[in-house]
Symmetry: C2
Subunit: 267 residues, 2 copies
């Protein structure tokens, strides 16, 4: 099991507080000691940091924690290797360009047989099933849509592809092009939206509190998505297996529950 962390906000927001909790799980309060990575979108570009070393002792992680990088869309991942050796090229999040946009993907779980699924346009650099699944998703999207489709059609396709991947094992996923944050819960994922009136929050993994009222304006909307709730005093929504949620500028933009057999037949 790895730990995922994502953020979607309507104003550039730093993720230092949540990241402080997450990085403790990388080798200190959690067993996820096989590297970590984070991507911060800024316009159409993204700053990505990857480190195959444990985040709890990583100099780069310490730097990010102490130098707030503000962003509207962030994806992060702490890895416990179960497929693919511990190496930089196997460290999430993975990135590829599609339709002139930079796509970023992070996954936890294991997928059976996915590495045998054929690929055409995108090929993995590393050896993880996760990167292969990402390449396969982009391949399918590219085949289906030669140019960037309307957001609803795109989201429906991403949902359908996620369900196909989830059928092979455990597929908890964060995926973004910098605008929409697509979240699929295969087994475990939770989210929380902070908005006015902002209050205090205390991390579960470290003795650290924040009072967001001091750092925000009344119009700020910030959603944090994580494998498990990161704070002890806020009302997280724990997703059900099979749920798919998309966030846009901090707000929930689309959500789909587990399809019933009848709905699946109709689709």
């Amino acid at each position: 099991m790895c730990e995922l962390l994502g953020m979607s906000a309507n104003v550039p927001t730093d993720i230092c507080f949540s990241f402080a909790g997450l990085m403790q799980r990388g080798g200190k309060t959690g067993p996820h000691a096989d590297g970590w990575g984070i991507a911060f979108y800024e316009g159409k570009g993204a700053r990505a940091f990857h480190d195959p070393h444990p985040s709890a002792s990583s100099e780069v992680a310490r730097f990010i924690r102490n130098h707030p990088i503000k962003s509207c869309t962030v994806l992060s991942h702490i890895r416990r290797a179960n497929r693919g050796r511990v190496a930089l090229e196997n460290t999430h999040p993975f990135q590829r360009e599609l339709w002139g946009r930079l796509w970023t993907f992070a996954h936890n779980g294991q997928l059976a047989g996915v590495k045998r699924w054929p690929l055409r346009h995108y090929h993995p650099v590393g050896t993880t099933d996760s990167e292969h699944a990402f390449c396969w998703m982009l391949d399918r999207l590219r085949e289906e849509f030669p140019a960037s489709p309307p957001a609803h059609r795109l989201a429906s396709m991403i949902e359908a592809l996620s369900r196909r991947l989830a059928a092979t094992g455990v597929f908890n996923m964060l995926l973004s092009d910098g605008r929409w944050l697509h979240c699929f819960c295969g087994k475990r994922l939770a989210w929380l939206t902070r908005r006015a009136p902002f209050g205090p929050a205390t991390l579960i993994d470290e003795d650290l509190s924040a009072d967001f009222a001091k750092e925000t304006t009344p119009r700020d909307v910030v959603t944090v998505v994580a494998t498990r709730p990161l704070t002890r005093d806020e009302a997280w929504t724990v997703m059900e297996p099979g749920q798919y949620v998309v966030f846009r500028r901090g707000e929930r933009w689309m959500h789909r529950r587990v399809p019933t057999p009848a709905l699946e037949q109709a689709a």
Copy 2:
């Protein structure tokens, strides 16, 4: 004019000394104040850092300078914007995957009309002519070679594509898949190979010296490529316009002079 910096080495080597000189050119001793980026290969993966802010005052640049990241292949770029606004997505080096390898590209110079050249597989995320040229090169390589070709055939094709781009303006380029470092001099590029017996070196741009004899073993071979020589007391090879050189594990692996008209006709 932007500043390029590349390194090819036979053992993982830190580039802190050269980088210290280069980053001073970003807003302090040079006018290249519109962002900078660097990529360090580690196996098949690469750690990349991008910052649209001047390198001389960049916290990330300071971090890299003070926390040596050892690598056999490094590409870096400091930007003075002349095409495309100052933004993260316009900050070199650019990266794309081809044949399951991560390719990294940095360019200085201006290219006329290249942004109208058609693209099929790769599309720019930003608005620079440089990224368009990179996408075009990878497009051509992918069309020519469905799978990774032998290194000599690949290098000849990269040389030919570089010449076509250089015909449209100024094309100083560094390109790598992590193994070979391809360097094309459109107007200005210089390189230096350090090997035993190692001696001292003094930066031109900052009052900083290094004694490589203390940090190396007799078998180390390290080549540094830069727009202009970075040190005052070493014998840099200044490339001629039209020259193409490829380094592999620190050694010059292939070099081509400016083709004579007769040779061009025969090719």
